[in-house]
């Protein structure tokens, strides 16, 4: 559980995080939510988020959502927390005749809330699950009949999980998981509920606030993408250089079991799309020996996108990995058992996350799980291939040396791209790219899957996504352009972003050529681009000028469709798309 107390969070509310970004959040509850609002605001300060919270009055969910003139709609909140407590749910259950259909009925009601919010706003819903609770009226037989409260509340949580998969801008904050971690007596305070209609204990509020803020951060694009790990006493017990292959601890027996579990967990993260890399003070050959020869290693060399083992300081090595993979330092987690190394890395590389791993390896996994570092707002099949993509990138870099000039190298890659309007298969990946891209992102417009779908269907927009592949592999979907029809003559580049994996390949040239071609075909005469500065996107501040646009103002640029000179690129359009 987070070590922050409610009193500390309450004090935070009086502070004003100067560098914080703004976020408007509404809370709709069927119980008293004032302290929850305070906890979320206070936790936001810890994470440099300045929350403006609209905390609806007690038990006003229906009234707020049904009335288009309500304070909720007027609050224009980016997020809406819906917290319905299990105590109220039980009350409704007791008054219901058709117990077997109870969960489905309640689910329909909640689904109706989500749809009302979707119909009127762009608000992202954060729905709390119900803390499962049994009245013991049936004893353990409750598990054996569908008319028990236990059965119905469990079914309801599952229905919510299924519904959240369908309704794209609904995210669940799993209160039931919190309860199963910390216990009902910690989460609930009956006395507070009876006196003040507050179902959550003061003690658990910081943890609940953390989970809400974690979701807000992930939806806003702040996510971890890479784990860099040490080897000795981190991935296995002992020191490979001293103890040798037979001496290190890894595998099912004894101390090795904890390290085996830890490796298995990292492997799961890698499967989900987190990039793994090694940073170890070792001879490279020695460091690789367990991966090549130890039969009980779970992680294999090809699970890592980079493997750096030498005697340089770790901060320099991590910086090298970060520059090669080309992601922000704030999206990297560094794991090391040695407090000295951790401190050196933390103090040298601002932004990087360096967890204070517990001394006992048995607690590595549970400690890291508790931090919830890998919250995400999207997932797509393409995530599975990410490791392969970074490995292909390393092969490309290696092949570069064979060529006399960079142009010759680019020609040799045999690059083929496609450009297509958004289709529903790609909505998850498109939404994810808008959430993940920070550097090559002209206006940093973040979109949920639902918003992507809306724009694809909206006549006012022309949407394009781009893929790229070459002889070393497939980059997949790497760029998104959304053109807004501002008038009969002009298309405005409402959104343009690209994965940094494909920088300096001629892809940006190819994209702009395609945009101008698309504008021409649709009968437009001008394309206007805009650069909105963020702390991270300086690399694209002059890109429109470089690609043949004329500067109109500080941050706006324009191209004439008829006189535009195509940019040079070695990328071919995929044959079956050629018109």
């Amino acid at each position: 559980m987070t070590e922050l107390t409610f009193t500390k969070l309450k004090k935070n509310c009086r502070l004003d995080p100067a560098d914080g970004r703004e976020c408007r959040l509404a809370i709709l509850g069927d119980c008293a939510t004032q302290h929850l609002a305070t906890a979320i605001r206070g936790y936001g300060v810890e994470e440099h988020i300045r929350f403006t919270v609209f905390d609806a009055d007690y038990n006003q969910i229906d009234a707020q959502l049904m009335d288009e003139q309500s304070e909720f709609y007027a609050s224009k909140s980016q997020f809406a927390v819906i917290f319905m407590c299990v105590e109220k749910l039980y009350h409704a259950f007791c008054e219901t005749q058709d117990r077997a259909a109870f969960a489905d009925t309640v689910y329909q009601k909640i689904r109706g809330y989500w749809e009302l919010i979707n119909a009127h706003t762009q608000t992202t819903v954060i729905q709390f699950t119900f803390a499962e609770n049994d009245d013991r009226v049936f004893g353990n037989y409750a598990c054996k009949t569908n008319i028990s409260f236990l059965y119905q509340v469990r079914r309801l949580n599952l229905l919510l999980m299924e519904g959240a998969q369908e309704v794209k801008n609904v995210f669940l904050m799993d209160l039931n998981r919190i309860q199963s971690c910390f216990g009902r007596d910690t989460v609930h305070d009956e006395k507070l509920y009876y006196i003040a209609k507050m179902p959550l204990s003061t003690q658990i509020l910081p943890e609940v606030a953390k989970q809400v803020v974690d979701i807000v951060k992930a939806v806003s694009g702040s996510i971890k993408k890479c784990v860099i790990t040490d080897l000795d006493n981190t991935l296995w017990g002992g020191v490979i250089g001293d103890d040798g292959l037979e001496g290190i601890q890894i595998g099912e027996l004894g101390l090795g079991h904890a390290f085996e579990e830890f490796q298995m967990w990292l492997k799961e993260l890698q499967n989900r799309g987190i990039i793994l890399a090694v940073c170890s003070k070792n001879n490279e050959e020695t460091a690789k020996e367990p991966f090549l020869k130890h039969p009980e290693m779970i992680l294999q060399l090809d699970d890592f996108s980079m493997f750096v083992a030498n005697w340089e300081d770790k901060a320099s090595n991590i910086r090298r990995i970060q520059e090669t993979i080309n992601i922000g330092m704030d999206s990297i987690v560094f794991l090391d058992d040695n407090p000295f190394e951790r401190e050196q890395v933390r103090s040298t590389l601002p932004g990087i996350t360096v967890p204070e791993l517990p001394e006992d390896p048995a607690r590595y996994v549970s400690y890291l799980k508790g931090l919830n570092l890998f919250e995400t707002a999207s997932w797509s099949q393409a995530d599975r291939d990410r490791t392969k993509q970074y490995q292909a990138e390393a092969n490309r870099t290696a092949s570069l040396a064979q060529y006399q000039s960079y142009d010759e190298y680019l020609q040799s890659l045999g690059m083929v791209a496609e450009a297509r309007p958004f289709d529903s298969f790609q909505f998850p990946r498109i939404a994810q790219l808008t959430q993940r891209s920070n550097q090559f992102n002209l206006r940093t417009v973040r979109c949920t899957e639902a918003e992507v779908g809306q724009m694809a269907a909206d006549d006012r927009f022309i949407t394009l996504y781009f893929t790229l592949r070459d002889k070393f592999g497939d980059h997949g979907l790497i760029s998104v352009v959304i053109l807004e029809k501002t008038d009969g003559d002009t298309l405005f580049m409402y959104n343009w972003l690209m994965s940094c994996r494909v920088l300096k390949r001629g892809m940006e040239e190819f994209i702009i050529n395609t945009v101008i071609g698309t504008a021409k075909q649709a009968g437009y005469r001008k394309v206007v681009g805009e650069y909105l500065r963020t702390p991270k996107n300086a690399m694209v501040k002059d890109i429109y000028e470089r690609l043949g646009f004329r500067r109109l103002g500080d941050n706006t640029f324009e191209a004439d469709v008829d006189t535009f000179v195509q940019n040079k690129t070695y990328i071919q359009i995929r044959k079956d798309d050629a018109q």
Binding site: F6, T7, K10, K191, L192, I195, A196, S201, T202, Q203
Partner: protein, 80 residues
Amino acid sequence: MSREEILEKVNEIFWDVFDDDTLEITEETTAADIEDWDSLTHITLISEVENAFDFTFAMKDVLGMKNVGEMLDIIEKEVQ
């Protein structure tokens, strides 16, 4: 723990909860004496006292205590 020691510890909780370390509470202090002592802060106060002294107030005590002295009576009984 003597009554004075309890009062001292409770006073520190008041400093924390009301974010004001100039507060000097006495047995006679009531909610009317401290500007921010409303029903919501009362709940925070109760939770913090419960954590600090490791017991839980009964529901009627939370609603019924009239001043700090009555709070000390309950704590004193619980910690003995």
